[in-house]
Amino acid sequence: MNNFAKRYAAFAIANRKLILALMAFFTLFMGYFIQDLDIRNDPDTLLPETNRYVATNAYGEQKFGFGNIMVVGFVLKDCVGGDDPYSDADQIINFDPETGLRINESAPVKMTQNICEAAGGAWETLDDVYQPWFVNMVQKAHNDMVALKHSRGNNFMDIAAQKIKYMGTSEDGGLKFERLIPVAGINTTDKQVAGTQLAHLKKGIETNPVLAPMLMLKQAKDGRRCEFAQEGWYDDETCKAKGFFIVGDYADTVKSDYLPWVTSTIALVDEIKAEHGDRVEVRIAGEPYFLAFMLYDLVQKWWLFAISFLIVVAMLWYLNKGWRGSVFPLIGVVATIIITLGLMGFTAYKLTTMMVLTPMLLLAIGTGHAVQVVRRYQSELHTNGILPMSAAERAIATTIVPATLAIVTDMVGFFTLSFVDISFYKAYAYFGMFGMMTILITTTTIAPILMAMFPGKNTQVDASMVEASKFEKGMAKTLTSVIMGKMKIIPIGMVVALVAWSAVQTKVFEPTVDSPMPGVEVGINYSRAAFKYDSDANIDLRRLGEVMPGVISVNIPIKGKVANFPMLPACSYDGSQAPGTPCWDEDEDAPQGAFNNAEVMAAIEKTEDWMRSHPNIGFTGSYIQFLKIVNMLMMTPEGQEPNLKYFHVPNEAFISQNMDVYGDPEDPQWVPDANEIVTGFNGLLEANTNAGDLDSFVAKGWNEGVIMGFVNTMDPVKTHQTVKDIQQFFKDNENEKGFNLVEWGYKSGDTILMPESGKTVTIEDSGTDTVAVGGFLGATEATHDVAEVEYIKSPLITALAIFVIAALIFGSPLIAAILTSTLLVTLFGQYGLGAYFTSVENWSGNLHFATLVSLSIAMGLGVDYGIYMISRLREEMQLTGGQWAKSLQNTLETTGAAVFASIVVLLASFIPLLMTQLANTWALGVFISEALIIDVVLALTIIPLMVYIFKPKYVFGKK
């Protein structure tokens, strides 16, 4: 007990009422700000904005929108009725038939006749979607989705959207653009009228080369998706129309309104399911829904938090032998949680649902410290027979130093995260450190004060209150004999086995150029990282992945190079422009901008064609799809149905190959100018679309645009490879005609002015000049960039920091080395676990950028047990006059038992993290739990053993 500790304890006791009043006031004050918590799960704000992928993605979204796409799919069921057969199918696809693992995603089992009939359903495959009730259901869903708050109705794409048109010829041979379905829906009273309307829809959607692949499902008999215009596409026997999709777009404002919005969305979908669920699969996905549903799921599972809390209450009641020992410490812990949450709200920091870890950690760690201090209070009270307030003072004085040391190391674990430029790492760092710091007051100081202020009766001496339980005594005795006897081989063997297993899993002895531990995949599968495999959100997403061409977005911004497209400023006619100033007159001068250049358009066409042929890319779209449609409509000879032969960019080469339609019979020598055609068609599109219709693909100046694509896999290995392939494609074509006129994506060193935020971002040097892509694929790759650096660097910095601090605290580099070495064993065990999850393709559990935080946090928390053990060993060695065996047993009986209790409390605290549908909290819970369990085992066995072997002076004294 040093002087500072004594003085602090005396001060706390003397001013206890003031401290309690201040804590109550501050808790209430900060509690007020909890309502301002901004949990938005926005992946765009998580990563460093200077990362080339993040910058490309941000630019693409801010410039062209479509950052909040929601997809709802309606697929006619083949299996009608029965005892929830689709639920069975969903469960069946959880298991790989060969390995028995439920986590392999490579070959999901689809609904089959056997599954259907086994569930008592009727196997009906003859119907298609061209039925009034089905089409009207989709139309109503469209209207309801547009009516949802934050919708951008103009951007919706589906059969009921105004801008989605039937393109064909009228009876007199003119071109016809009509809505696919009447505004009032398909006629439900007159079959003949309905038949005509449905035939119109069928022809309109199935012959549209741009929209059919995106908005409808045609399915072969084996359940596979038919691709547009493949053999049998137009034959209903070969490819039957089975589904329609609504692609909705929502404004960014949805991010601050997730919970009400997603509640309305779920109600909307539930209503459709209630009415049509027996015949229709309704699947929902998309970024805003997906991200908002995470918050929704947490809120829905409030009862898990209640159960967790009650378990902690019960544990404390048992350990501290009475309700006082349970309630008073928890008052402090709850105050810490309220204050920390209030600070999150007060600072308006943009948080993610992963931040739920912070209050649960505060509950667990705060309770752990409370156990130590309350037990000490009871020991002082009931062993020495002193007054409660004196016991409280002594408890504070004796525990404040180790508690402070432990909390400082906890804070170090959080603090090192603040060096990583990822917003939620920083959030963990700032709020974690703050929360931990408050524990010193709210728990380690307040708990014994409250115990002493309300001590109850007969508090003077009660041996039963301090006597170790049979379990505690047994555990201490057994562990002491293990450590001191031949059985020490057991803990040593466990450590060796853990290290060996981790070495095998991580493949640390088979390093590659890309990775020192190739068994550890650090890429992210966003859907699996967010939700568990069998969560509702993932089941829907997987199913949509089967029936749609792809669900993970990728965007590639395109901008004309200044040298080729100088983009002169518009001429000013208000007298402000100096004579002779170069300017561009939109009325008189030739149109400027890369998107008025036919060869640039042809380069985009080539890129899209290549992307669509890539096995991992299902669908792409860009402005050239509009252009190709106009070309097809204009160049198909009059009176004929639009001919896909002319669904092409009219560049010089294409025109020369098709002079039969491009030529002028009255002027055989005349050859049209490709750029003039493109410009003219651009003008037609500009004047014949609704305001904003083109803005999602081409910027108003006609010098910038974007290719939007959808990747059909979320496998982190495949997504990483897809990015590499795209980069190689642009490398291979960088000098080709058209390609060399524009910039594709953004590269290291580029400076970007963000269109919405107005920020200027200079992209950090990533050591390569390859093109970056945006969209979710870009965000995924950005996490790969960050994770492959941080997964080793970040925890090692934490370990180094803990070593330094431990060395300073204990004045013993040897003690610091003992503690740090055990932390490294734990860290390697975590790598092993991450590698194991990688090997079984459990992408909820690999060490991606969201779970990496657990390495540093667990390190900071895990060292606590060693600190408490070593502090107590020193104390006991002094009390017993240097009798090691006695000191060890006493330590294990007291502090060891408390450490053991702490881990039980921690696991109880993690129940909500592990039991919701969220995978990210599950993974954090699993990694931290694994680490802390290893740390407890090491603290109770290996650390005493190492202390005994190396005999540090801090414990053994100078002798």
């Binding site: 139309q139 209207n143 103009n154 105004q162 009228s170 007199d172 041979g173 003119g174 071109l175 016809k176 653009f177 009509e178 809505r179 505004v183 009032a184 829906g185 518009a570 001429c571 000013s572 006619y573 208000d574 007159d585 939109e586 009325d587 008189e588 149109p591 008025n596 409509l633 204009m634 160049m635 009059e638 491009y662 002028d664 002027d667 005349w670 049209p672 100018d673 003039e676 055609i677 410009t679 003219g680 068609f681 651009n682 003008g683 037609l684 500009e686 004047a687 014949n688 679309t689 609704n690 305001a691 904003g692 803005d695 108003k700």
Partner: protein, 316 residues
């Protein structure tokens, strides 16, 4: 009870009803008390320039009709055009012909000939000449709710909506208050640099009918619209569109009297429309000097495909 229901039905029929399918070019100037349908038909008559044999907006020096489209906080896109409407076509079965030529920008030289047939069941025909491919392409009549030229006006607003498409209810007479709306701070181009783009305040104090027109189509883009129609000229100064009880769009029209005997003989000075949800604005500004009515054109058969092909070649 039965009598009450009957009275309500009779009263309602006085105020609302189904408009006739066709509005005749010979529609007489009304007198006495008017029904809602009468007002709607008279307004249709005015908006289709049935008082004139022909109506043209051409080019005089630098003055020309400009269509200015402006998204919120963006630079405007300006299209300039000429237009000639023929309400006295000679061809059988043709009700009207409308020839438009774009004079600037990407559509420079693009021509459009719209033919409206006497048979109201027959759709309008659209022929478009595209100079870059030297071809005329025919199109079927667009949907009434499609945007006209990418603007805030729909084809229904400009030409296609007929009184029969809505149920009309007269909300009574009122005094129009204030000036019409106008696009402010227009960035001028070569053609609009000297244009007097000022709000029309001549409407202030005019007596107007308030006509509520409810869309007959289910799920239409508006539920109803309220038009403020001059009680003498039947020109509509303002139309407010409502969906779900909220106003979603406003279109103001400035009218200029042609000075003919028929009070309905007036033509547009400008249109100004704004979509309230997006802030997108459209202004069609027609300089008075370029407007001609009942003009005798030299060219024979001006409203023809031949003109469509030939005329744009003269535009440089």
């Amino acid at each position: 009870m039965k009598r009450i229901a009957l009275s309500v039905a009779v009263a309602a029929s006085l105020a609302t009803g189904v408009a006739s399918a066709v509005v005749s070019k010979d529609l007489a100037y009304p007198s006495g008390s008017l029904s809602a349908n009468d007002v709607a038909e008279q307004n249709y008559f005015v908006n289709h320039f049935y008082s004139f044999d022909n109506y043209g907006i051409g080019k005089k020096g630098e003055e020309i009709t400009a269509l200015i489209l402006r998204a919120k906080d963006s630079n405007p896109l300006t299209l300039t055009l000429e237009r000639m409407l023929n309400n006295s076509p000679t061809a059988d079965g043709v009700n009207a012909q409308d020839l438009a030529i774009f004079r600037s920008g990407k559509l420079k030289g693009t021509g459009m000939l719209i033919t409206d047939f006497s048979d109201q069941a027959k759709s309008q025909s659209y022929e478009i000449f595209i100079p870059s491919i030297r071809k005329v392409r025919r199109f079927a009549e667009p949907a009434r709710d499609d945007a006209w030229g990418g603007s805030d006006f729909t084809f229904g607003d400009v030409t296609l909506r007929k009184p029969k498409h809505e149920s009309h209810e007269l909300l009574g007479k009122a005094t129009f208050s204030g000036c019409l709306g106008i696009m402010k701070d227009v960035k001028r181009n070569k053609y609009t640099q000297n244009a007097k783009i000022e709000a029309d305040c001549s409407t202030d104090g005019k007596e107007v009918y308030k006509l509520k027109s409810t869309a007959n189509n289910e799920n239409w883009w508006y539920d109803n619209r309220v038009s403020y129609i001059d009680t003498k000229t039947f020109a509509d100064y303002r139309t407010e569109y409502f969906k779900g009880g909220k106003q979603v769009k406003t279109i103001d029209r400035s009218w200029v009297s042609a000075g003919l005997d028929d009070p309905r003989a007036s033509y547009w000075g400008y249109w100004y429309g704004t979509t309230l949800a997006t802030g997108h604005e459209t202004m069609a500004f027609i300089p008075r000097s370029v407007t001609k009515v009942n003009h005798k054109y030299k060219a024979k058969n001006l409203w023809s495909t031949r003109t469509l092909k030939k005329m744009p070649r003269n535009i440089k």
